[in-house]
Subunit: 93 residues, 2 copies
DNA sequence: ATAAAGCGGTTTATTTTATAAACCAAATTT
DNA sequence: AAATTTGGTTTATAAAATAAACCGCTTTAT
């Protein structure tokens, strides 16, 4: 049995990646609302994903307010696809 | 986004349940080999699954040796099916 | 017959991970 | 200008996974 990439096998990180797979980009506030996570938790998990090179995180401004935008990277996309394949074995699909 | 049943969202426990879904029953030694887990870890995770009523664990003998046999319960089967459905949402299937 | 090693586990301790709580700077509202 | 809100980060705590140590029984070798 292959191992399930532990970086993706986490509810919140999987939710984030899953969202980012279906959208060009998403900002911190959107991700927080969509995943119903706390800011702190989200911040930590985004760091991990970005540390692994699975997402890019860009801080910018909208008017005077900061805006943190996330995008999935090619590496992240690949990791996700592989995770799904592995998972299918577990689920018998 | 629905939450992924945390009892099933664990590599080892998911592997165990996944095996038990496809087999009438499986004993400790078989599960250990198949999942490549340590005995300690497996023991703990089987306890959790059995504590939740997802599997039944029966201790018996084969000759003089003890044998611990596991089977998935109806509750476990249901939980697994639901977990898979929820996961599909995350994976976009 | 007895010590040593192996089998099938369980219990306990350690490490890792997830989560929440506290905090911070800048902007906005009152 | 004080208080509140926004958009986060950092740090502390709780929970989970994992490994290490252990235990009773059996088998093997001496």
């Amino acid at each position: 049995m292959k191992e399930l990439n532990p970086l993706l096998h986490s509810q919140l990180r999987l939710a984030v990646i899953s969202i980012l797979m279906n959208v060009e980009e998403a900002d911190f506030v959107y991700l927080k609302e969509k995943t119903e996570s706390t800011a702190g938790n989200l911040s930590v998990q985004l760091d991990k994903l970005s540390g692994a090179g699975y997402i890019s995180v860009t801080k910018g401004f909208v008017g005077k307010k900061t805006r943190t935008v996330c995008q999935i990277t090619e590496l992240g996309r690949q990791a996700f696809e592989e995770y799904v394949e592995t998972l299918k074995e577990y689920l018998g699909m």
